[in-house]
Amino acid sequence: METFTSPVILFFVLGALAAFLRSDLTIPEAIAKGMSLYLMAAIGLKGGVQVAEAGFSTELIAAAIAGLILSCAIPVVMFFTLTGFGRLDATNAAAVAAHYGSVSVVTFVTGTEVLTQMAMPSAGYMVAVLALMETPAIIVGLVLASRFGIHRANQDRTELLRETLLNGSVVLLTGAFVIGLIAGKEGFEPIAPVFEAGFRGILCLFLRDMCRIAARRLREARSLTGRLVFLAILFPVANGLIGVALGALIGLDVGSAAALGILAASASYIAVPAAMRLALPQADSGLYLTLSLAVTFPFNVIAGIPIYAWFAATIVTG
C-alpha cells in the first residue's frame, strides 16, 4: 500500500499520465542518459561499499550462481514459448528471449528502494549479481537464433563479443562496484553526497521520463499482438516467482531473495537491444523494445515488485 504513496512511484504514474495525455515536456536525451549513468555508478558504488563492509560470503557465491542459471535458462524456455504460442519466427523469438534473460537496472533500483521502504533491504552483493546477469542471455539468444533461425556465417564474432562483454553499462556497473569495494566506507564518504543523497530524487525524475517514453512507444507500436502482450506480462510473473523461490532455496535473506526475483522478472532495454541490433539486424527492434520497455517494465514497477516482495516475505522464514 505504502508503495503507492511513495514519490518514486507517484512520479512514475505522473509520467504515464503525461504520456497518455500526449503532454510534451520531455527530459532532454542527454540528461536522461546522464541520469542513467549516474544511477549505475551510484548503485555500483553502494553495493561495493556494502560488500566491503560485510565481507565476501557463501550467499554471495550462491546468489551469483543462481543468477547465472536464471539468465541462461529463462531465454531457452521463452524462446520455445514465443515460437509456439507466441507465433514469432525463430529470429525474433531469440531476440525477445534474450531481453528477458538479461536484466533492467532501473527496475532493480526501483525494487531495492521499495524493499528498503518495506524494511526488507537486499544485500549489497545483489549489485554484483545484477552485473553478472546482464550479458549471458545475449549469448544464449544468439546461439538460439543461429541454430533455429537465420544463420549468418560471415558474422564478425570478435566485434560482437567485445560489444557484448564490454558493454558500457556492464563496465561502469562493475567498475563502480570494484571502486566501492576498494575505497570502502571511509573512501566513499567524501563523494557520498552526490551518489547517495541525489539517488531517490534522480530516480523519481528518471521514472517519470521512462514511463513517458514507454507509453509513447506503446501508442506508436505496430507489430504487437495480444498474445505477445500476454506473454510479456506472464513471463515476468513466472520468472519473478521462480527467482524468489530459488533465492529462498539457496538460503538468501528475504530482501535478497526478492531482489533475485526482481532481476529474473526484469527485461533489458539498454545492453540487449544494442547487441541484438548489431548481431540480429533482421529482428524487429520495434517489437523487442516495445515488449521490454513499454509492457514488462511498467508492469514490474507497478505490480510485479510488490508481488515478488510479498512472495519473498511469505516463503522466506526469517
Binding site: 545492453a271 537491444p273 533482421q282 527492434s285
Partner: protein, 104 residues
C-alpha cells in the same frame, strides 16, 4: 563562374549500433572521408520514432554522409543494396560540386 568538379554525396540513414558496419563498408568501397549527422526523429512504415536515449542508442538513427567520387559511391551502393532490408537503412545519393578534385 567558379571552377568546380562534380562528385557524389552519398547519405545513409542507419541505426546507431550498426554505424560501425557502414563505416567498414565505406572504407572497403574507398570512401575514406565522412561525417556523421544526428537526427531527432522521423516516421515511416514502422511508425513515428524519436531520439530517445533511454535505450542507449539502440533506438537512435544517425546519417552517414560522404562526398566522394562516382565510382566509390557506386561500389558502396552495390555492397549496401543486399543489406537494405536487413539493416533497415535508407540510402540515397545526389550530385554535388567540390572546389578541388584531389581531396574527394
Amino acid at each position: 563562374m567558379a571552377k568546380t568538379f562534380s562528385r557524389k554525396r552519398i547519405e545513409v540513414l542507419v541505426d546507431m549500433p550498426l554505424l560501425s558496419r557502414i563505416e567498414k563498408i565505406a572504407e572497403v568501397a574507398g570512401v575514406k572521408h565522412f561525417t556523421i549527422l544526428p537526427t531527432r526523429g522521423g516516421g515511416g512504415t514502422e511508425g513515428r520514432w524519436f531520439d530517445d536515449r533511454i535505450t542507449g542508442g539502440a533506438g537512435t538513427k544517425v546519417i552517414f554522409s560522404a562526398v566522394t567520387s562516382e565510382e566509390s559511391a557506386d561500389s558502396m551502393i552495390k555492397v549496401l543494396e543486399p543489406l537494405l532490408d536487413e539493416y533497415g537503412i535508407v540510402v540515397y545519393r545526389s550530385d554535388v560540386e567540390v572546389i578541388r578534385s584531389g581531396k574527394f
